[in-house]
Assembly symmetry: C2
Homo-oligomer: 304 residues x 2
């Protein structure tokens, strides 16, 4: 990054451009209709559209750019990952889970609709992700499409993201009993696996070589952890208006977090070190990876 921060401006522009393009792509993939089931489609669109930084799609698009993947293919993979991310938020926010009323500055799905509709909307958003990946428009080679389906399922399922959610719920009921190793493993499952898939999707689409994939894996691991530490920092120091969701929840729940384990300053230092290390893993891609390097710094400095 140049000392005058011009890459940060480039990053902001690129993030906005991807977010606005993803809005169109996702809107085109979401179901629409006028039967009695339209309420479901409305809830899916409400939960998936008009919100979020679209950080995972951005990682997909930038990763795909390293291997000259066609944008139309990468956008479908990016949409699939974002549908999975959105479904997980809808279910996480349910009263039986985190019981959150606010998400991305809007009422959560079960508040705007109702619990049953929110459960179904989350379910159908997950299904849609796999439908999108398996369709020929995502890549002409079915082996590539199957690799995407398998990798997303592995990242999102019981031994990935959903396992991490369960781990997190158990952490709540067990209070502050977890140490740094366990919290790191928890976050690697809960958010890390989907970040890792976001960083790999472009390499899968581009049928990239093993060293490239390993570099992206290492980047994703550090990025995901830095992201989560930053999330803990926001939860501890941000306001609801800034962050767009309820804050202070971890302390209220007496949960072990990176803050409770490292202290606020220690957590900030760790996140910055991870961001720098994440960027270094991408040196082999040269300037093509500049925006991915900037993203690592962005996630630890963000205010929402």
């Amino acid at each position: 990054m140049s000392p005058d921060g011009s890459h940060s401006d480039a990053l902001a522009l690129a993030l906005n451009a991807t977010a606005s393009r993803m809005e169109q792509v996702m809107a085109g993939l979401l179901p629409d209709g006028d039967g009695p089931e339209t309420r479901l489609f409305d809830a899916m669109r409400y939960s998936a559209l008009d919100g979020g930084k679209r950080l995972r799609p951005f990682l997909v698009m930038q990763g795909a750019g390293l291997f000259d993947v066609e944008a139309a293919q990468a956008e479908r993979a990016a949409a699939a990952i974002e549908f999975v991310h959105c479904y997980s938020l809808v279910h996480d926010d349910l009263p039986a889970m985190d019981d959150d009323d606010l998400r991305r500055g809007k009422p959560t799905c079960h508040v705007a609709f109702d619990e049953a509709t929110a459960i179904l909307a989350g379910d159908a958003l997950q299904t849609l992700a796999f439908e999108v990946l398996a369709a020929p428009a995502t890549h002409p080679d079915a082996e590539v499409r199957c690799a995407l389906v398998g990798a997303l399922a592995s990242a999102a399922g019981g031994e990935g993201m959903v396992g991490g959610q369960m781990f997190d719920l158990q952490a709540e009921s067990e209070g502050t009993g977890y140490g740094l190793d366990q919290i790191t493993r928890l976050q690697a499952l809960k958010t890390g696996r989907l970040f890792a898939f976001s960083c790999q999707a472009g390499a899968i689409l581009g049928q990239a070589d093993a060293p490239s994939r390993a570099a992206l894996d290492a980047y994703a691991r550090d990025l995901g952890l830095a992201f989560q530490i930053a999330d803990d920092i926001l939860d501890a120091t941000g306001t609801e208006a800034e962050v767009g969701k309820k804050v202070g929840k971890d302390a209220d729940a007496g949960k072990a977090t990176f803050i409770s384990l490292l202290g606020l300053d220690g957590a900030r230092e760790r996140a910055l070190a991870l961001a720098a290390q994440a960027a270094e893993h991408l040196d082999l891609f040269g300037h093509k990876a500049d925006l991915l390097k900037d993203v690592a710094r962005f996630v630890v400095n963000r205010r929402a």
Copy 2:
């Protein structure tokens, strides 16, 4: 079917054999482990194993038999469909949905565990279905695996099963306002699409010709509707001990059903006629389809 009912005995034996084989296959595919997320795996196993007639897997296995598909491949597709079916039951039973305490004669997942765990177990069962289908062990040709993923997603998603669930919830809030056309469409979405995919999976794996696929589609359409009418009859006439779940719910909810629209005798006649018609669609397969023909008669005469 021979007049002495020997095919029915053969059917009972074959259903039992498939159910017991599927138990092994599904147990081998479900995650296991000893981390804090083990509670999730326990809930997934609780919800997917040791229960049900495994009717959808049976349809897959019999359909695959028509095209000489390897059993190990068909069993994976059968397990995937059953995982989706089980996930839908876990979510349907939730307090915010049908609020059922009993399923297959056992406490429902959210009763045996808790609501949050049941939501996550359903989520991860769905993911597992797609992971299983996309893996090379399901078929050497990735085009076939992608066709399975795409067809299951289409059948199970917002424009299929989940859309049908939403339709059904709307039907409850709108009481008896629906006519026969609407109830038929509701059931085609809610249960018919997954039945149809169960009947098609073998043809996809066997890369069957268009007339074979069309015959199986026609069979599935009639079978699914016959099954649902029989379900309404069981709900109206069965006991909780026989059926293994709460009965009399439709009448209590004041919902339009095939019984309220056709009367009990009319519904029985319609189901029998559909079963006979379903069997006729399979004539082109000769004796290889005998058990599938018997299944059509079985679903309308079952007591649970």
